[in-house]
Symmetry: D2
Subunit: 474 residues, 4 copies
């Protein structure tokens, strides 16, 4: 489904590098590969061992680093981020990496995830006199580190601070002499370690390794703190590993088809989901089409298994960008439509299987079904390559609140009716877990199913902010 | 194949509208659908019957009309263009529509194509004292119209001027009281007429009609001049129709899969080309993959006919835009690659059929074959859904000169060797014509095959400029 | 008086150079010295003998040439302009120098003045098929040159074209092999010739020579065409000299105090006007103050002659620029005032002589008198260092139409009453001519007095446009 | 002397307002009047009682608030600043007002001056875990306030924090319910209180009151904290007043001629300095000229007292702005000069008295003397309206270090020799104090003479940063 058409957004993608003389350039290319994880801000911070240099701004990677600005960043270590932001988290001051300069040791941080006890921790710190610069939950970690007793080593201060955080977090941190990497105890957000020649790299997705020619080494483990400096790499735990619970939506929707998470390729996992659906439901149809871009893999799988030809029944308008002027209600009623066009000669007079990755509010699904029927489709069978979404996410995915989710209190048939489809099929949680096929033998195969089941792998606090409610401080 | 990776570029896309109170807004949405035809400039000119208003600039449609600028354009008639420009044709003054204000009648023009006797006509006009504002061959038409004897009606002056032009041209022209549309005698460039409620619309591709909810009426005929004003629509010929010769590359590469040209859907035509290839050559392979975006349809067709599974073996990096900083030679050697990533888990250990739409210089094909092999492909069989390119185009396609075309003086096996493929197959011109299946019974089924055969449907002058040589006046 | 406060604006300043390897850089510095003559656009065109390079845009010189853009301009010949534009002449296409590229010989032009038969000439040319690019009267000359019979030499074509122009004009023109300079037959606009080492330079004001270290040689003569190329300098007449009629307002208001016009220093001329006033009227007062910046010289003269101390009674707010947000009517009523501040401790309780250079509509004079009285001045005696303005200017000065001029149908005492002054004194035309002291023995000492007397030195046509009416073509 | 020509810069100007519905607009106009105190950044923060709104950026006031951005700021209370910044203090994050959002009470601050124990305080706070956002000494006050014991009232926390600061400071602070104003115990920087209708205003200079139509009430007293809220105005001391020590350079150079400091008008004070010089030294000369802009008043005074005519001998090029491209060394040698032009007809063959306000490094004085002699002056007598500068300033004036000051280890005659003058006269400290004429009867008439004498009115710490050394944290 189209990210622009619904409130389902990833918070961001992070990258880190240590030991490469072109740290900024490598980070820049890596951010391009991660751009699909956040299009509203980008930044790179590098160090050459003496101080930091930073470029960050709102906008796409290409916009933020336009001109020759990148050449100003000289260093062998760096961290970088692309960022999606909810309405209240906008503003240049919230663009990451955050950089905290101090006579007692400067530090820069970038983060993917959501800390569920951030409001509590912030209020505690402010009562003690701390002054925050941003609305970001990321900043809490910096203050916790600085507040730790001065008698501890920096490593112990970082571990102590990390152990106070609850929720989903993949952190990359940069000091003048080290790159630090941390993953929350449940491993809710993907984070992979790689090597580029002698340099170490870390990224939210492995597609960033391919673009820079790096080799994948392993995933960062839940509860692990990795410290890389000129002496080498060091790993230890800041918390015991809890039940592994990788975000299911990474496989379903967020990650790029060419990325692997814990050894499983995204395109292949999605294709298996599509095949499984074709085995579970028999549809008498003429063509299979996927909603671009994230549903293409499942549609190919459905076509291959069912023997129904795969066609380009829907075309995405690639040039509808952030500054696109939406048609007025009046113009929409006059027929102006954007972002998706049906291919009339493909669907006219045909029974169409329309494969999508998920349904959030249902309004987009309804619009696409209508588009296809207006273009002449005689039947539209909607096939969803994941289970119904029924609960909000507190771990960094900007899903709507449950009252907005079409599936929360409705039967499959009621949803089908609402979106105007001739049939509607979801994948069950069990079938999805089997199709994705994570090797884990733990609960839920090590996947977080909270948005499908309402069972959260961590505590949730009364003041845990949903992403779009994050800003509480005026 | 990727437009960014080679010198194969369409000159532009045009749009026109008459009789709709939101002429500028409708043009804006239509330009989005045509954006793939030109990404270097965009413009809209509208009239409300008294004077003209214009917004145009270098950049993408979204950039040119950012902010609320569009609301400044009020009128019921308009013309618009998106533009690709060769090195010498850059500069804001060359962005179209061109607008010529005059006390004897103002006129605005936009153009798709290339006038092969433009240099000759321009020199003739300049010797008579005309002063040109641009390097564009489009401006020649304006001067020819203004120079015609004052005793003729405007319609006759336009006809007389059009009859002096040789080459490929699809013109949209706007005066304060009419929209005029003209197609060259060979019909080299696509141009379709449609209706949007009571308003008339015209566009280079029918995908522009789908986005605005307009209905396709018919193609503009070779040698036809259409004049639309408040009294209605009027058609006549400014020249007898010559042999119809629609550009083959529109079917092969340029047009959007959801467009139809003369009743033939582009996606379906390409898919038939892919199927035909699968019938003509038997390859023992494990997966079929297409080079995104324009080869996907042919790859799907090849897969369907051959029974070899279709996979996403190559991912396009969608965020590598115009301002992307290319990696230095040194970084490229260190493994940094952009724009296309192979999906290792899809191709590793597999025999891969790589379907592409065409080969120009061969450097990109070689790069992609290498990418796939480095990702573990054991064999790479390259299948091209068109014949070898051997001659330059004088009609508006920025193909390299023949000395740069890899196929000009080489056998198929020499090309295969150069690009490192295990096998290489082209479609023959005849098989391509049959697969596309134009209804015409004239020579070449009404398609221009000049770039494949060197036989040009019009005269070519000694000073006819190739697109990248256009600017001769200092 | 303050230019920003009234409709009294110079059209522009021009500069030209031939034979200096840093032609663009020298032009850039010269434009700074001429910036007071036009703040709405700036441009430089250079030639290295093969083609032209141009940078021009709306904005101040500093803005137009920001960054390192200037380094792109390489050449030994150049022309440049700073520009004031009336409402209808806005737009980047009207910024000069204009550049006309042609296979029959390219030419670039910049102009200071106003051609009074421009509308007539343009209509004539358009009827013959010429297409104009701008609203500028400057473009008429380019078309006239191009239209001249091809059998003439370029020099003769330029002379013939110049001879068809009526009005005020100082032209600098650049071809690939020469710099051409022309002055209208009355010499209405200042234009001086100088030398910078071996290079020739020409400028609207001599202050441009001081800044670049050039030596003043002589004024360009009325009706003279100067052609400078690599062979040397050549002068001839394109028209017999008419009565010399240098614009009086150049001495009174426009020119910089450090410029000389025909050997007379502007500061000294204004000071003599102030002294003359002090001899003509005896005022019993405590302090003399001038309205910054153009009246300071006259105020110093008045003080020196009268013995009344000169003080800074009014301060100009230098940072109120083009983008300044004017206070709303409501805020103005609450006391917000800009641009000029009275110095309370200087004028409080004092009888003040307020010297100004001229009065146009009178609204500003009234405002300043009010400011001074609110700051405690017990009496305000207004002394104007020029005669009353009663007629519009057709030669390039954007004076209001005569119905707006406060002096057109009013007695001195009525004006005094309207502006709230305790007394009001003007300089008579004769006293002004004597004080300025031009050496000419011709009529009016070779000065144009049209705005003071309504007697114009050239024909005026029924369709001669005032500067603010210039754009007649839609 | 020209600010651009030397390292003598004021740190900034501040403004505050409470109780006016157009707080942002009024602040905008006031900043224009204060623009001469800082041209590198500007900002306004307003509150409507619930939260804050802020606009700030690098650039001039006109640039920062271009467009309609100002209309977004709604509130009845506001603070504002214009800023000069030393090399290390650049960057948008250092532009003031600073804004610290907190759940325990947000606060915004703007500051003029230099806190001499800032480094010490910052290190102390960082050791306790505080994280700083800027390099600014201003931020220290915010952290001190937040760190104070939670049992104190806000007023007491502010007083306690202020009492820990040493040095020169004029603070304006804004909370959601009050405007707070504080002046250091020596009153080193000017700060005046005024009324605008029912609203209270405060500004670094009284010229800001004139522009907005406000009435001057009194100066803020040394060691005073003023709190203004909806209940009214409240004043108390946070420290006992020390010896009053207003910065002498405010009178000599920084402040605008139309401002009053402690009841003394700047123009009149400078004019008295000029008159005093004319009484102290008898020069046989033909003309007096001042170096624009700050020396004009003293030159007028010298002329009036000596009877030697005052002339415009030097013209400032007003359009040489921040983005001006400096001529290369080569071009300078060819005669290109900027910023100041001598008026040849005024000085040629004359004995010239050149009045300037001060001499810092002497290079500019030398250049001006040379300019005048090249323009024909037979003698140049330099008269300086202040004593020789011999010591650096730690209170916010960016004077060079003492090793760069021409007067540190040289006799008057050695300086005269170096700058090439025929004679050189300074004002003695005593004569300057008498001429300025502050009413105070305390030491030095309540003026700080540190830069003339090396005697500092406060402690100076070993790590007190000079303005250009401010940034010590990497």
């Amino acid at each position: 489904m189209l990210a622009e058409l619904r409130g389902l957004n990833e918070e961001c993608g992070v990258f880190g590098i240590w030991g490469h003389e072109d740290a900024a350039q490598i980070s820049y290319y890596a951010l391009h590969a991660l751009q699909h994880r956040g299009q509203e801000g980008a930044g790179i911070v590098v160090t050459n061992g003496e101080g930091f240099q930073v470029i960050k701004d709102e906008g796409l990677v290409n916009e933020v680093f336009a001109g020759n600005r990148l050449n100003d960043l000289k260093g062998h270590g760096g961290i970088a981020q692309v960022r999606y932001s909810s309405e209240n988290g906008r503003g240049i001051e919230n663009v990451q990496p955050l950089l905290f300069r101090s006579t007692t040791g400067s530090i820069s941080l970038a983060h993917n995830g959501n800390i569920v006890n951030a409001v509590e921790l912030r209020e505690h710190l402010e009562r003690q006199g701390s002054i925050f610069q941003t609305n970001s939950d990321t900043e809490v970690l910096a203050h916790l580190i600085k507040r730790s007793s001065g008698s501890l080593t920096q490593r112990d201060r970082v571990k102590k601070a990390l152990s106070m955080l609850k929720g989903a977090f993949a952190f990359v941190m940069l000091t003048e002499d080290s790159l630090m990497i941390a993953q929350d105890p449940n491993g809710l957000r993907p984070l992979s370690l790689g090597k580029l020649g002698d340099a170490w790299v870390v990224a939210s997705e492995t597609c960033a390794f391919d673009i820079i020619g790096a080799e994948h080494v392993r995933s960062v483990e839940p509860g692990e703190l990795i410290i890389i400096n000129n002496k080498g790499i060091h790993s230890e735990r800041f918390a015991p590993a809890a039940d592994s619970a990788m975000c299911s939506m990474e496989y379903v929707y967020f990650a790029r088809p060419d990325s692997d998470i814990d050894g499983i390729n995204i395109h292949m996992a999605r294709k298996r989901c599509g095949k499984r659906l074709a085995r579970e439901v028999k549809i008498d149809a003429d063509v299979v089409t996927g909603v671009p871009d994230s549903s293409i893999s499942a549609a190919i799988g459905f076509s291959e298994e069912s023997g129904i030809p795969y066609e380009l029944g829907l075309i995405k308008n690639r040039y509808v960008g952030r500054t696109f002027i939406e048609p007025s209600q009046e113009l929409r009623e006059k027929g102006v439509k954007m972002k998706l066009s049906p291919v009339r000669q493909v669907v006219n007079g045909k029974r169409v299987v329309m494969v999508d990755d998920s349904i959030v509010r249902g309004t987009t699904s309804k619009r696409i079904v209508t588009l296809l029927k207006e273009a002449g489709a005689t039947e539209v069978h909607v096939v969803i390559a994941s289970p119904p979404l029924v609960s909000p996410c507190f771990y960094g995915v900007d899903i709507s609140t449950d009252s907005e989710l079409i599936a929360t209190n409705r039967s499959i048939d009621e949803i089908r009716e609402l979106i105007g489809a001739d049939s509607l099929t979801f994948l069950s949680p069990e079938a999805m877990l089997e199709s994705i096929g994570r090797p884990d033998t733990t609960k839920n195969c090590g996947q977080c199913l909270a948005c499908f089941t309402g069972e959260y792998p961590t505590d949730i606090y009364s003041d845990t902010a949903l992403p779009h409610e994050k800003e509480r401080v005026r």
